[in-house]
Subunit: 121 residues, 2 copies
């Protein structure tokens, strides 16, 4: 758990993944994230995976689960900062993160989410 | 590799395929393209295949992989300029480029992508 921080900024939660995480950590992270969305009334969640150089199938599915759970709680999610080799690997393995929004970096991710939630107070 | 150029124009990358390419070239092209998307912060990728008169199954799959990988990096992709006989062959072979956006020509491809990414700075 020490390798994951969740930071609140206005109505955005920023979750920064640092390298590889085991399955148990990933599961508890979904709990922490959904709890934080409810606690802070977050409207948007940005998951930064710039420091992740290996994304296995379980973690890919976990990212999809996070996005789906946050959506049910009223928050849109974007995964940002994916490295090109990680993107290619996901595609070659047939796991191109269906149902997960992606953006190049934090700035573009927040812009994407702002556009999605614009007009909603 | 000499038969493929990647040109940046504002936030659009234009990749022009010149005729047939072997499998190795196709694989390294995916690497070059994803690297260029990240380097330039591209929001849209247009792949012009007007000069391609033979599109085999590997190249068709490669186009799909390019689009999926670029999406993970936050860029939308359109394939433009397909020749009618290439389109017919793809359909007859049962490979109608699932998951790949297409447009008649470069102008319409860029218009399509602009519509998709509108509103995001």
């Amino acid at each position: 758990m020490s390798n994951v921080s969740i930071v609140k900024w206005e109505d955005v939660l920023l979750l920064t993944l640092q390298g590889y995480m085991d399955d148990e950590t990933a599961i508890s992270l979904v709990e922490r994230l959904t709890g934080a969305v409810v606690q802070h009334g977050a409207r948007a969640v940005v998951i930064d995976i710039a420091a992740v150089d290996v994304l296995d199938s379980f973690m890919a599915r976990t990212l999809g689960n996070m996005a789906a759970a946050c959506r049910l709680l009223g928050a849109e999610t974007a995964v940002v900062g994916m490295r090109p080799d990680v993107a290619m690997t996901l595609v070659e393995l047939g796991m191109p993160l269906p149902g997960v929004r992606t953006a190049l970096n934090l700035e573009k991710g927040i812009a994407l989410l702002r556009r999605l939630i614009v007009g909603v107070p």
